[in-house]
Symmetry: C2
Subunit: 384 residues, 2 copies
Amino acid sequence: MRGIYLDYQSACPVDPRVNEFASRYLTEEFGNPSALHSVGIAARTAVEEARAKVAELINAEDSSTIIFTGSATEANNIAIHGTAARNANQGKKVLASAIEHISVLNPMKYLQKVGFQLSLVPVGSFGIIDLAALENMLSPDTILTSVIYASPEIGTIEPIGEVSRIVHEKGKYLHVDATQAAGKIPVDVQKDGIDLLTISSNDLYGPQGAGALYIKPGVRTQPVIFGGGQERGLRPSTENLFALAGFGEAARLTKLEMDAESERLRQIRDMLIGEILKIEESYLTGHPIRRLPNNASFRFSRIEGESILLTLDAMFNIQVSTGSACSSKTLEPSHVLLAIGLKHVEAHGSMVMTLGKYNTADQVPVVADAVKKTVERLRSLSPL
Amino acid sequence: MRGIYLDYQSACPVDPRVNEFASRYLTEEFGNPSALHSVGIAARTAVEEARAKVAELINAEDSSTIIFTGSATEANNIAIHGTAARNANQGKKVLASAIEHISVLNPMKYLQKVGFQLSLVPVGSFGIIDLAALENMLSPDTILTSVIYASPEIGTIEPIGEVSRIVHEKGKYLHVDATQAAGKIPVDVQKDGIDLLTISSNDLYGPQGAGALYIKPGVRTQPVIFGGGQERGLRPSTENLFALAGFGEAARLTKLEMDAESERLRQIRDMLIGEILKIEESYLTGHPIRRLPNNASFRFSRIEGESILLTLDAMFNIQVSTGSACSSKTLEPSHVLLAIGLKHVEAHGSMVMTLGKYNTADQVPVVADAVKKTVERLRSLSPL
């Protein structure tokens, strides 16, 4: 790894211990879990062990509630498109918070095209969902509500327990995208009252190419792609043994180490926020307290986030983001920043730092100094 | 690897050279290709290099014709569901050969549910598609025809060039599932006249979790899952860098080594077929000549293929299959074997051996002897 990487929300390195554990499934124990012979059975055992480890991380009832997918995006699609289609006979209304990831918003918009009625629940200026609005928008034919556990862009953690209580008083199913939250804060599907929950392997320092969808017992959904009977028919494709075994091991390590690691990151992150807010006309975005321990998101007036990103990278070898990497190629300002009430010009000045395993406290002054110099430099060039 | 593995159609080990090449993308160069900083750009470069290597293997016009997916199943779903949905205004008829893989047949059956008219094109007793029937079944509103390049179960290679000519005289698009064929026989999308083609990484000894869909320039399709803009919006999800880089390297090595390796396997395979056909009431399934060089598929009268598989595994540490691993958990006989005209009881006696990198000529007598003993033993126990 080069320089100081502060973009763990967009991609994480695989934990060397995970790699060590899972690499046997690439070249040695490479069977197809559907094959009936011993090599297949060994592969099936590896997948089921991984499933149990993932179930434990989120305190699922048992491992049969976990469906492995090829990505969090795919899990979100099954949760949203699959569940709405399967339960359309009970209603055609769906809700999502205004700050969902595009892998939730876009399947929701697809549902709109095929006859569902989508409404977006507003959030306050810190990004917390408006619970009164949620309550008003729900009706008995609201078959699915999707609320992100915590935003990768502004770090805000949603009050999922309260959301669940409100959704289940009037509506049907609650889906929660916990891609960023899982592994950083405790996620407990039973305590939180969640019907469907998405998590991702790579966000736990597991291999890319694996996600999981928790489906509470009794919740009905259906596949969005079709083929073999793998994953109860909900995600056909030969299982990616390396990625799934690694996902499981990453979940196990995360469960053991999360409390300490999150506390470590929170301290570094708080120092970083303190230093960066010393810069003139810099502002924290998202909730000051209820936020992911590794997230430090800001906006700076009179400059573009993209210019900050490029300058920090080129001149200081520091990698940050301006929002979600998945939408980083568009010129539109982030829908999340608009949803918390920022003007377009304000939203364009955003910079997101997400910390991870390889960040240390001694990087804080280096990063803060680089950001300060970058902001000053860009402002001196800015016509505004 | 333990024993003698003869089930390469269900899963392949990753080539150590591929692993060596791609493993850097797990722990070191792990960026998100959508990120705008240098770590993201390096990742994007790796993905584009992989795309070019895959394009070369199938002689695609250029690398922009290649869409990476998470699996061959997913590529088949985009090719079938996505393409039919996108072109439904031009017709609602779709065709598939009767011996397609279930990841083609099941999306086709889904299309039937949503208003398309599906017909299955019959095959002859060797598994070759009935070209006269194909011609008769085609009409101007046949928007999509899907024909497998070569069957994993019976090895038969279809006359794709002729299929293409016939399809394009009357119908619109031809999709070809080349998951088993690519890397074993030359596949040339331009020479063969293919509009959409599916291949898989693992079948080239690349990592699992990666497939590709070739889309001829001008062919219109649409995604089946929704999210970010990756892969021209056709396959949203953060790219699986390790799997894609490995897929590319596997494609490159395959292109270099395929001719020699296929000839090597063909010789071993022919010896194996010769030995096994000495067993009483044993029959080759599929075409005697036009077949994949690594495929040896048989049926034995009066015994069950599953019993052969389990006995070879338990007593001789030899791994074979009875057909497609993806449907191996059902008790139904293979639809492929029924399509070539076998009776149910005959189809139940099938055994499929698929050879690969680690098979050698000196395994032939060992395997042949084990099969002979297994068949004799099972027949002595059989009430038939």
